[in-house]
């Protein structure tokens, strides 16, 4: 199982870098263009949300994007250390609608070892 993890200061300018990384990993796995577009957008949304949550909480702890390639499934986890409850963010209507419309599976849980959210997205069951 190959793993790529990106950790970044919660700033909007780094969300594009996160999209680049996710798209590069998905492309390497041989996913087709439609899935690549879905990964790019959904991972961007999840990371932008993590940045918003961190800004809302006034916390600068790095956001973590983790990409695991396991048996042709792409498992993505976006973890923020905002100390906010997983569902604490307001105004995430459009963002979460997109994430849920684009990924094959979406699971949110509390980030272990430190308050925050862990949003897991899966493609290719």
């Amino acid at each position: 199982m190959a793993t790529v993890t990106l950790r970044f200061t919660p700033l909007p300018e780094h969300v594009r870098t996160a999209r680049l990384v996710a798209t590069a990993v998905a492309r390497r796995m041989g996913m087709d263009d439609e899935v690549l577009d879905a990964v790019r957008l959904a991972v961007g949304e999840a990371c932008a949300r993590a940045v918003r949550r961190s800004e809302l909480a006034g916390r600068g702890d790095l956001v973590e994007l983790r990409l695991d390639d396991a048996d042709d499934r792409l498992v993505v986890a976006v973890v923020d250390r905002s100390r906010l409850e997983p569902d604490a963010e307001r105004d995430s209507g459009l963002a979460m609608t997109l994430v849920e419309g684009l990924a094959d599976e979406v699971v949110e849980s509390a980030a272990d070892g430190g308050g925050g959210s862990r949003l897991e997205l899966v493609w290719g069951a």
């Binding site: 909007p12 300018e13 969300v15 594009r16 577009d37 790019r40 957008l41 961007g44 949304e45 932008a48 940045v51 918003r52 459009l94 963002a95 609608t97 997109l98 419309g101 684009l102």
Partner: protein
Amino acid sequence: MDLSVTSREQGGRTVVEVGGEIDVYTAPVLRERLNDLVGHGHHHLVVDMEHVDFLDSTGLGVLVGGLKRVRSHDGSLHLVCTQEKILKVFRITGLTKVFPIHDSVDAAVGAAGGTQPGA
């Protein structure tokens, strides 16, 4: 900044041509340009999305905000978009029911958008 916004007058509408990536980083620029146009009396907008490569929820939020703003002046906001990738973003969020979406700028300018503009 991989976003470009240019505007011109056509058939009594203001056509706003957007190019590049509209995302959490660049969307504030688009919001400012739309607010500026509306503030200067341009209430009938056609936003041409044909050169947009990427659109996220922040960008959608800016377009929804623009729509609300022009409506409060009895204006209109039409979109031009034929790119499947971008249309999908409007479809998933149900916003295809909110925005009139056209195949070309001419079609968008020609469409009767709410109240006809004074010009």
